[in-house]
Amino acid sequence: MKRLITLTVNGTPYEVAVEPRQSLLQLLREELHLTGTKEGCSEGECGACTVFLDGQTVDSCLIFALEAQGRDVVTIEGLARGDQLHPVQKTFAEYGAVQCGFCTPGMILAAKALLESNPHPTEAEIRQGISGNLCRCTGYVKIVEAIQAAARG
């Protein structure tokens, strides 16, 4: 039986009826039509489903929608301010850190979280900081360069 939950996504309050077995990822993609967050592995290994939940990066594929009751979610759609891209989005585009783009939303959120907690990371710290996000295309080199560029400001 469905339950009504309320939550904030990208600053907007929502009221949604969900089944207990639905994941937060499904809620975002299928109920709210925010399809920027991707389903990669459904196992919490690849990070393509990364979102911010109350300010922390989490794998939304392993969270029941009901667990998001009363919480604050930020997805990739919540980063740009209108036409103004977030600095990490800009450098990802400039440095060729996007190939197929599937890992990109999760990767950008992970990078944003990293730079917020560590504004001047070393390369090793960058690689450690995004180690919860897998990319099959780029070999991570351009991703690391883009994050370094965003850190330089």
């Binding site: 339950r3 089944e19 207990p20 077995r21 639905q22 994941s23 990822l25 499904q26 389903e39 459904s42 196992e43 919490g44 290994e45 990070g47 990364t50 939940l53 922390q56 990066t57 989490v58 794998d59 594929c61 392993l62 969270i63 029941f64 009901l66 667990e67 992970a110 979280a113 450690q128 900081g129 180690s131 919860g132 996000n133």
Partner: protein
């Protein structure tokens, strides 16, 4: 994925431990406890578990407690995440091996949700925090229909996948006793990739008094049916002044105490070899911290 993957269930989010226990009693056999969900959701998604009822502990505020005092030591509630443990200043200062161990679990995203207690309740012999918790003498607080009881962590793990929890019992907290004095520690782990289950893990915690190792705890992970204390290796060093020869002997004995299996990740022989290497490294690290090496 899709709606078809998980079986539907009834979801409860009680606000007290008593309520949670009552729910587990009421739905005995068909209820599962939800903390961080990083393991439970996965098993339900794979249909390895098909509970009719899920009891979410996260609205029980006392379980979110993570606090330290010099008199009481560390109290770690059941819904405390690995991420919180890694970041906690008192854990870093007084239980450094635990902060290091918790930082190995999964990815950052996993650590922001997965709980230390929940992970232990899976009773994996390879649980990353287990060797550190064993070496710090962790005690498990359990609440059930009969009331509250305490158990040393060694007794909590029974076999792979099974803990000492009786039906309708939940772990409410871990308690780590305060250190009577200065402690040195070492934690090491062999793994294939950054996000992978440990092949072997090891943690040594040493307390010193006048150049003598007054208390020694050596714990091993992923080399037996449960995480274990290498008590014979500990005895080699306990009460002694450390020396290179004693260190080598203790490491050798630890490898003998390990009872590893060969599996998809690596062979039993490799695990035995690594126990000796990691025990030596961890013990050296502990002694260096105490400036006894």
């Amino acid at each position: 994925m899709g709606e078809g993957a998980l079986k539907n269930f009834e979801y409860f989010d009680p606000t007290s431990v008593g309520e949670a226990v009552a729910l587990l009693q009421q739905h005995a056999g068909s209820a599962k406890v939800l903390a961080g969900g990083t393991d439970l959701f996965l098993r339900m998604h794979r249909r390895a578990l098909l509970p009719d009822v899920v009891v979410d502990l996260k609205r029980i505020t006392e379980l979110a407690d993570l606090r330290y005092s010099d008199q009481e030591g560390l109290r770690l509630g059941a819904t405390v995440t690995h991420g919180e443990v890694v970041e906690h200043a008192a854990v870093q200062q007084h239980y450094g091996a635990l902060a290091t161990a918790a930082n190995w679990v999964g990815s950052l995203q996993t650590r922001h949700r997965g709980t230390v207690v929940g992970n232990l309740c899976n009773a994996s012999p390879a649980a990353d925090t287990a060797p550190a918790l064993l070496s710090y003498g962790a005690i498990v607080t359990i609440v059930g229909p009969e009331g509250q009881r305490e158990l040393p962590l060694e007794a909590f793990f029974q076999e792979p996948g099974r803990t000492a929890l009786a039906p309708a019992e939940i772990v409410t907290a871990l308690r780590l006793p305060p250190a009577p004095g200065q402690r040195g520690w070492g934690y090491a782990r062999r793994t294939r990739t950054v996000i992978d289950i440990a092949l072997v893990s090891s943690c040594t915690v040493i307390q010193a008094n006048n150049g003598v190792c007054s208390e020694v705890r050596i714990s091993l992970g992923a080399v037996g049916p449960t995480p274990l204390r290498a008590t014979q290796a500990e005895a080699v060093l306990r009460g002694q002044r450390p020396s290179a020869a004693l260190l080598a002997e203790a490491s050798r004995v630890a490898a003998e105490e390990a009872r590893p299996i060969s599996d998809v990740r690596c062979s039993a022989e490799y695990r035995k070899d690594m126990v000796e290497v990691l025990t030596k490294r961890c013990t050296e690290s502990a002694l260096r911290m105490l400036q006894m090496l």
